[in-house]
């Protein structure tokens, strides 16, 4: 794996993980909004 491809993979993994974290944050607040 060359350096450029590794950087691309790092960026992709980071974005996926950040998206998951944000989904949990927003998702649980939305759950609170729906219930209140």
């Amino acid at each position: 794996m060359d350096e450029l491809e590794r950087k691309k993979n790092i960026r992709r993994t980071t974005l996926i993980v950040v998206a998951v974290a944000l989904a949990f944050y927003v998702g649980f607040i939305m759950m609170g909004v729906m219930r209140s």
């Binding site: 790092i10 974290a21 944000l22 949990f24 649980f28 607040i29 759950m31 219930r35 209140s36």
Partner: protein, 535 residues
């Protein structure tokens, strides 16, 4: 190991620029070893800060009646002690170990996102500075317990928004740290190191990082809603406005229970590295350990309501959460079995890291058994909010997580400093800690079974004897930890450590010189996996 050694030394030869000098080295560091060191020092400082609060708590509880502090301050101490120990001591200590060891174990030159790594660390002192400053604010520090249940927590004085802000900062730091761990492990491993060839410490941290990604945002969401309830007129958790305070408990424990495993899975990883080394055998059932850790992580998401049995829930809910909780004993049992099987017929020696690991296996199991007792819903109705619970989780967290951190620190200290620590002092630290930790927490089981509630500054006289014993043990345990500081301060005076350090050690981290050079594995090594050297 020859190839890896050659690569590691080659990497050292390429190290044409060393560490910057002065404060800038630490403020702007992007080096995983420096950041790991900062995490570890920070967690030690927080360990003593939270420990000082524990001394206040145990001094007040040594005899019946009010002695030293106002009850409100006592409540503040229990709240702050928990927050500081969980988020300031145990979690950063494991992140410190991860920073130091994961790149070395997988043959990576550094963490994948080094600048974010710097941010992850430097957010922490700010977060805890803010949290500790609340003790000086009108109304005092937060005193509603680390669980921050509304409506009680909304009665906090000026400290409330600062508490919420600091919890957010701690969460952001943890999330950034776990993003870094995941991205590093997924993308930076040495070319022929497949996932199942990774050392157990790396595996347990990968699973822990996924847990963190899933649950820290949930805590952040919960405290954000608390903040808007207090200041922006919402009623998420306020019954008067149509909200539901029990919903907070569900959300909090959806975070809180996996949080327990966030603090114990890396401990499993550390112990899984140490026991094979000092048994001079490969880890028994490496793959089954991975599957067991994954099972524990999955189950941790579906047991949260066992913390809320007394709140009231349908019978089917009680049964589900009771049996799901009990199920965790199965993968945990697999792990205990594998550690014992690793030691079976091994050429065991008992250096300090091994002693702490053995104590971990025995004493964590005691905490696990009392956890099983608490999982039984009808029994939990009696045990709930008593000192039995305090005894249970302290057995899991002190001779569990903290002992594993100590074991890891002793195990890798020669690799970090390049010198062997004082073994006699280390063993003295171990024996003093083990004796006093049991004197502190074992009597609390009896206090709980006799009905002494948690979070009270005063109690009935029938609880006096065991409380005094517990307080004597706590002060002994606190003083014993000064020995650990002495070990660290004198660590540079010991004999020069070899690259391998321990006779039975294996894995890439032992192929680099001791102390580990500032840059390692700038050229990916040919990974020789854990266990291969035994074939």
């Amino acid at each position: 190991m020859t190839t890896a050694v050659a690569d590691a030394h080659a990497a050292e030869d390429h190290d044409d620029h060393g560490a910057p000098a002065g404060i800038k080295r630490w403020l702007f560091s992007t080096n995983h070893k420096d950041i790991g060191t900062m995490y570890l020092i920070f967690s030690l400082v927080m360990f003593f800060t939270g420990g000082a609060m524990a001394m206040v708590i145990r001094s007040e509880l040594a005899v019946p009646g009010l002695q030293f502090v106002h009850p409100e301050f006592f409540n503040s101490m229990t709240t702050m002690h928990a927050l500081i120990m969980v988020f300031g001591a145990v979690m950063p200590a494991f992140v410190g170990l991860a920073n130091w060891m994961i790149p070395l174990m997988i043959g990576a030159p550094d963490m994948a996102l080094p600048r974010m790594n710097n941010w992850s660390f430097w957010i922490l002192p700010v977060a805890f500075g803010i949290l500790l400053s609340t003790l000086l604010m009108p109304g005092g520090g937060p005193a509603g317990g680390w669980t921050m249940y509304p409506p009680l927590i909304l009665q906090t004085g000026d400290a409330f928004p600062f508490l919420i802000f600091s919890v957010h900062l701690m969460g952001i730091s943890s999330i950034m740290g776990s993003i870094n761990v995941i991205v590093t492990i997924i993308n930076m491993r040495a070319p022929d190191m497949t996932l199942l060839k990774m050392p157990m410490f790396v595996w347990t941290w990968l699973i822990t990082a996924y847990l963190l990604i899933a649950v820290m945002p949930v805590l952040a969401g919960a405290v954000t809603m608390l903040l808007t309830d207090q200041f922006f007129g919402t009623s998420f958790f306020l019954a008067a406005g149509g909200g539901d305070p029990v919903m907070f408990q569900h959300i909090f424990w959806f975070f809180g229970h996996p949080e327990v495993y966030i603090m114990i899975l890396p401990a499993f990883g550390v112990v899984s590295e140490i026991i094979p080394t000092f048994s001079r055998k490969p880890l028994f059932g490496h793959d089954s350990m991975v599957y067991a850790a994954s099972c524990i992580a999955f189950l941790s998401f579906i047991v949260w309501a066992h913390h809320m049995f007394t709140v009231g829930m349908p019978l089917t809910g009680q049964l589900f959460f009771m049996f799901a909780t009990m199920l965790i004993a199965v993968p945990t049992g697999v792990k205990i079995f594998n550690w014992v099987a690793t030691m079976w017929r091994g050429s065991m020696t008992f250096e300090t890291p091994m002693l702490f690991s053995l104590a971990f296996v025995f004493l964590f199991t005691i905490g696990g058994f009392s956890g099983l007792m608490l999982a039984i819903q009808p029994a939990d109705v009696q045990y709930h909010d008593t000192y039995f619970v305090v005894a249970h989780f302290h057995y899991v967290l002190v001779p569990g997580s903290v002992f594993a951190i100590m074991a890891g620190a002793y195990y890798w200290l020669p690799k970090w400093t390049g010198h062997m620590y004082n073994e006699k002092l280390g063993k003295l630290h171990f024996w003093a800690s083990t004796i006093f930790v049991n004197i502190t927490f074992f009597p609390q089981h009896f206090l709980g079974l006799a009905g002494m509630p948690r979070r009270i500054p005063d109690y009935s006289v029938q609880f006096a004897d065991f409380n005094l014993i517990s307080s004597v043990g706590a002060i002994g345990f606190g003083l014993s930890q000064l020995l650990f500081v002495l070990v660290i301060l004198t660590a540079w005076k010991g004999a020069k450590a070899t690259d391998r350090v321990w006779e039975g050690s294996h894995g890439l981290e032992w192929t680099v010189p001791s102390p580990a050079p500032w840059h390692t594995f700038t050229t990916p090594p040919k990974a020789r996996i854990a266990g291969e050297s035994f074939e």
